[in-house]
Amino acid sequence: MAESKTGPAWTGNYLQDYGSRRGLMAWLTTTDHKRIGLMYAAAMFTFFAVAVLLGLLIRLELMNPGMQYVTPRVYNSLFTLHGVIMIFLFIVPGIPAIFGNIMLPLQLGADDVSFPKLNLASWYVYIAGAILALMSLFVGGGVPDTGWTFYAPYALRSGSNVSLAVFAAFVLGFSSIMTGMNFITTIHRLRAPGMGFFRMPLFCWGLYATSWIQVIATPVVGITLLLVIMERSLGIGFFDPARGGDPVLYQHLFWIYSHPVVYVMILPAMGVISEILPTFAGRTVFGYKAIALSSMAIAIVGYMVWGHHMFTVGMSDTARRVFSILTFLVAIPTGIKVFNWMATLYKGSIRIEPPLLWAVGFIFLFSIGGLTGLVNGALSTDIHVHDTAFVVGHFHYTMFGGAGVGLFAAMHYWWPKVFGRMYNRKRAIWAWGLFMVGFNLLYFPMLVMGIMGMPRRYADYLPQFHTPHLIATIGSWVMVSGIIVMLWNLIRAIRHGAPAPANPWEGTTLEWQTTSPPPQLNFAVPPSVTTGPYDHTALRAAAAKEAR
């Protein structure tokens, strides 16, 4: 067996071991971008499951007024952990770490990323950060209770394990930077012959914009988090009003990173949608250049809008107006994308398949998220909804309805390519339906409650908020059952699914030209490119030829 696998005639795929290392060791020492992507997926979905469980506990406590299951302090830890895990361990690495790693070289027609060893190192750094985050639960002063934002001065005074959690976020930042540097270099250097920047698939454009944000924004939060640690251990007083420091400065530094990072979460998801729509509409994407450049525009403008998280901290009116206007400007490139997607579907020969349903779900949910974002971005309305459940509803519509659903869409789109197996179509559609109903039951009441005045992060509430809270909790159960069905369906397909052809969806980008799953070096013959990425005519001509 081993002989046949190591010879030149070996025709296996990347999921099979060959060479000297086998089994787990082969995975842990791999520099294959596809395997690293799957290793990220395994780790991230483990943390995702934990954070979903924490979210369910939050909802359970909020189902009825009064305290039933946890103390207020435990409640604080619950939402802190839910946020820290979901943000730093799940959505920020998110689509780039899983599908960016797996698909970027495939879509560019390359064998791997530019720095395969750095890529593996980034996974280990991610795991190290995750272990530190988990340690903060069990050692020392107790579970962090500051919220995922670690705001000064409370984060400086809290007796809980803030330093360790902050250090974990610092380490995770390095992993993010490594991935970003790797992708930028890969995109600049390893595109297939003939693939200019404007012949790149739009997913690659999304990753390109994302990577720049990771590289530019992450170091700032790195140093900020380091300062929080120094402040807690040495009392350097930069953010401590008692020592002449300024807690608002912390907020500025924190959001200089943490606002751009929401585009780290959403831009790759938008890229995924831009891949799925042309494939299932059977036509080229509408407004290719506009979609590609709007990713860059979002990245650039999005870097300068962090102040909209701080409208109530006492900034000058001038600063607030500037931040508000810039925030509204982000809506323009976002709108460009949404309208181009709609136009792509218009008069297309649409095939309803699970990836398309998830993509359409993305557009629906993300539009609600984006429009409620404008409510937050406008100065006067923000004063009313600031720190209410409305904000929580808004960012779950963008982050989960956007980035999360984008990831689910990517999973349904690329699963046959990654594992070489088809999942059950009917079950996938059921899961999607359950998820969509549950999602809206869960988060829409939050928008309503927020406008009614329900504050965020409160463990208890007044009786008038009971009905929306009850609906939201029931919605959380429906949504989670949708997620469970979806994951079960996908995981089951790895072993029991029907073998997938090389191009089950009639996609036009390069990853569909190689086998499913791809061989170790991605392409038997290095591809070259002569047309734009979504040219269906060549594909149809080839199909017609085969039919004859």
């Binding site: 190591t6 520099t31 720095f115 395969p116 270099t185 530019i216 170091p219 300062l227 300024d246």
Partner: protein, 217 residues
Amino acid sequence: MRSESGTLGATAVSPAAVAHHEHRDDIGSKTGMWLFLFTELLLFGGLFIVYAVYRHKYGTEFHEAAHELNKVMGVTNTFVLLTSSLTMVLSVGALQRARVAESLRWLGATFGLACCFLVIKFFEWSAKHHHGIWPGGEHLHAMPPGEGMFFNLYFMMTGLHGIHVLIGMGVMGSIAARIRSGHVSASRYAALEFTGLYWHLVDLVWIFLLPLFYLTN
């Protein structure tokens, strides 16, 4: 790049694939290195923002506190670091012309100058420490908030810079070993060149730290 990796044994791929794969991308590596340097600048950038904010808020106190720093030592250290950047360039230049022994000598000189920088820094810090001026120290705690802020910033920024000097020295050591073993050579000098780029960044940051702390009064 992949051909060096663990999972791919030498026999694992067909000869054609190897030929296709053996490309070495120096421009790509350099792109990655510049991106990394960019992140380093932004890391220090965060601290420079904090400095700017508090300098604006506590102008007078910063001027007062800056008197306490030893200008002679600060300026000496600047010359030491600038010279070390020169010796680093000479080391890279020598290796590019295949003068291995000369390159190693210049690299050794750079290492020595880095040591010298840290020794001077050590004396400066320990003098401050002696007077109770260090983060969390009694004297510093009793200072007016602005002056305390100055010294905390001083220790944070020179400290972070010092860590970078230390890392640079570690990298120089390993590069020296790789030059000796022939892994880094006239035809493959990128690793030394990148060490040089990093070292110039360390130098550059110090050139800003000197006026901001020692020369503000």
